[in-house]
């Protein structure tokens, strides 16, 4: 019922009566309504209560589920790791085998099959030091032939292959191994002398590609009290790393005193029997001993 909002009643007495009637009806309703309102109120209240309960239940269930999921993932992991570890085991085995094949290098002679034959690797060593590796790629055909290789040109590969390649490949490879290891050993000794014992040398070390001729002038004591000796080492056997001919001479006008002559002869023997760098190491140690004796 829309009332005019200007506060003035409109329409005379009958209208006024109508209004009053309506008012009474309303207030009567309001008297009745509290009950209804209360009923509605209580209904709503119970609804709220119900919903709250439901909410709490749901919250509790969510928590439970989360806990269950966590627990179940913990339980599930062992299963997955079982799968992974099978794969891992296979991978590890493969890596292992690969590593073993790669480690065969350390035996000195190893190889890998190729589409046309085999690629042989000769790894040289001297006194427990691993030195250079050389390769020969062989084509397995009749006749057996070398496809390409990394053997230095001054090693007599032609000669060795003419003698042995077609008749006895094992012998061919062992022969080559011998030559290469001996060359690597001689080269190692010459390099060691040049780098570690340069102080003992009075002049450059003369050498050649095969390192089978070494010529140098040296002093037993680097600080110049001893006489300089000239050494000439020949390695006529290319399969060994020790010299076959040694000549130690004295560079000077006067004759050597018997003591120095003894030293010269002993040096010759030393060069015959021991690798070069070991001979010089022993010179260095003797020098230290002398120093110690001077000090004490």
């Amino acid at each position: 019922m829309e009332w005019a909002n200007d506060g003035k009643s409109k329409g005379g007495v009958l209208a006024h009566l109508e209004r009053l009637e309506i008012q009474v009806n309303r207030s009567r309703k309001n008297l009745e309504d509290p009950q209804r309102a209360q009923a509605v109120e209580s209904a709503l209240g119970t609804k709220i209560h119900k919903l709250r309960c439901l909410r709490d239940e749901l919250r509790a269930e969510v928590k439970q589920r989360q806990a269950r999921v966590k627990a179940s993932t913990v339980n599930v992991e062992p299963d997955q790791t079982l799968e992974i570890s099978e794969q891992e085991v296979a991978e590890r085995r493969k890596e292992n085998v690969k590593a073993i094949l790669q480690a065969y290098r350390f035996t000195g002679l190893s190889g890998k099959l190729t589409s046309r034959g085999v690629c042989v690797c000769i790894s040289t060593a001297f006194e427990g030091n691993l030195l250079d590796s050389y390769f020969i790629d062989l084509v397995i055909q009749k006749p057996l032939r070398i496809h390409h290789h990394s053997i230095p040109v001054f090693i007599p590969l032609e000669e060795i292959s003419v003698k042995h390649l077609q008749t006895n490949i094992q012998h061919f490879l062992f022969c080559l191994c011998e030559y290469l290891n001996a060359y690597a050993g001689r080269k190692y000794q010459a390099d060691r002398l040049q780098s570690d014992f340069a102080a003992f040398l009075a002049g450059p070390l003369r050498r050649n590609s095969l390192c089978n001729l070494l010529s140098f002038t040296y002093k037993v004591e680097p600080r110049g009290q001893s006489f300089p000796f000239c050494a000439r080492l020949l390695y006529k056997d290319l399969t060994t790393a020790l010299p076959t001919d040694v000549t130690v001479t004295y560079q000077g006008m006067d004759a050597l005193s018997p003591a120095w002559e003894e030293q010269r002869a002993s040096h010759e023997n030393l060069f015959f029997s021991k690798p070069l760098h070991q001979v010089f190491t022993s010179f260095a140690r003797k020098g230290e001993k002398l120093d110690m004796s001077l000090v004490s």
């Binding site: 190729t114 690629c119 390769f135 290789h149 001054f154 003369r206 050498r207 001729l213």
Partner: protein
């Protein structure tokens, strides 16, 4: 120091590019640090060279010092010369070669001087137990001509010798004799191999050009790796004749390998063959004498160019073995006759 020597030193230093000047002078090791410090290297080349020549005069440079400078310049600019290759051989069953560099040098000089008094011989030791020899030739009555020397590069205990092309051809037999005797060999023969690229010649005769070897360290066998062509790179491109392309690639890889090719500038084929024709009654076909013709392939990098021919579709694969045998046989000069 006489005028001709001063002039020679001046011209040698003038050849050196400014960027290399310090490096070359230090390698020469004739002028001391102190002396070099007194020179202004920022001035223009001509006054710089003038100053350097004065220092050389002060220090009394000899012909041998100047020759050494010439060797060093040539070592830096080896591509400016064309190199020939000679192969020496020994009698079978000879003793082990105990090569002594000093003995070689003195023997070499002795043999040359015995035949020719007027000759300047200089040596410079180089890497891998090798030596560079410079020889300036004179005659019985004339002093050596320092402007036309011959260079020889020799790696000890190998049968190969590399020489820069000698204009005075009459001296070659003497040079060959000196090298053979001094290095304990019996015979020397000129190979049919020539190039500007000394390092490539060395790689070819020492058989060092293919250094790819299969080991257990490589991930995949070499052949498989190279067959993963560009063909598979872009999936939007469909290749027709894919099978043929792969065949060509495989055949090329078998012939040339998958390593960088040694560098040569040409291959020359001298043909003395009868003319072969499909037409009967062709005048040339009736000719009894063989035709002579010369075919020369030139390229900044001949072997790489030949390798690219079949994959580029310009030639059929496999290429003629006359082209693919070049590094293997160590030849780039061929004479072909009818069998």
């Amino acid at each position: 120091m006489d005028e001709t020597l001063a002039e020679f030193i001046k011209r040698t230093i003038l050849k050196i590019p400014m960027t290399e000047m310090m490096t070359v002078l230090k390698a020469w090791d004739f002028l001391s640090e102190k002396q070099l410090q007194t020179v202004n290297f920022r001035q223009r080349k001509e006054p710089l060279v003038h100053d350097l020549v004065l220092l050389c005069e002060e220090k009394r440079a000899s012909v041998h010092d100047a020759a050494l400078l010439d060797i060093i310049y040539t070592q830096f600019h080896r591509h400016q010369k064309v190199w020939d290759v000679f192969q020496m051989s020994k009698e079978p069953g000879e003793d082990i070669d105990l090569f002594d560099m000093e003995q070689f040098k003195s023997s070499f000089v002795k043999i040359l001087r015995r035949a020719l008094k007027n000759v300047t011989v200089s040596f410079r030791d180089a890497e891998e137990n090798s030596v560079w020899i410079r020889i300036a030739w004179g005659t019985q009555y004339r002093k050596p001509n320092q402007y036309k020397p011959v260079y020889v590069v020799y790696y000890s205990q190998t049968p190969y010798v590399f020489t820069s092309c000698c204009q005075l051809k009459s001296n070659i037999p003497l040079l060959g004799q000196a090298l053979t005797i001094a290095s304990n060999h019996h015979k020397i023969v000129k190979m049919d191999l020539r190039s500007r690229y000394l390092d490539s010649l060395k790689a070819i005769v020492f058989k060092q050009y293919n250094q790819n070897f299969e080991t257990h360290n490589t991930a995949m066998p070499l052949q498989e790796r190279t067959l993963e062509l560009d063909i598979h790179m872009d999936s939007r491109i469909i290749h027709e004749n894919r099978i043929e392309k792969e065949r060509v690639q495989r055949v090329t890889q078998e012939a040339f390998g998958d390593y960088p090719q040694p560098r040569l500038e040409f291959a020359q084929y001298k043909l003395e063959t009868k003319f072969k024709s499909d037409f009967n009654g062709d005048i040339l076909a009736e000719r009894k004498e063989p035709l002579r013709c010369l075919i020369k392939f030139s390229s900044p990098h001949l072997l790489e160019a030949l390798k690219a021919l079949a994959p580029a579709g310009i030639a059929d694969a496999p290429l003629s073995p006359l082209l693919t045998c070049i590094p293997n046989k160590g030849m780039n000069y061929f004479k072909i006759r009818d069998k």
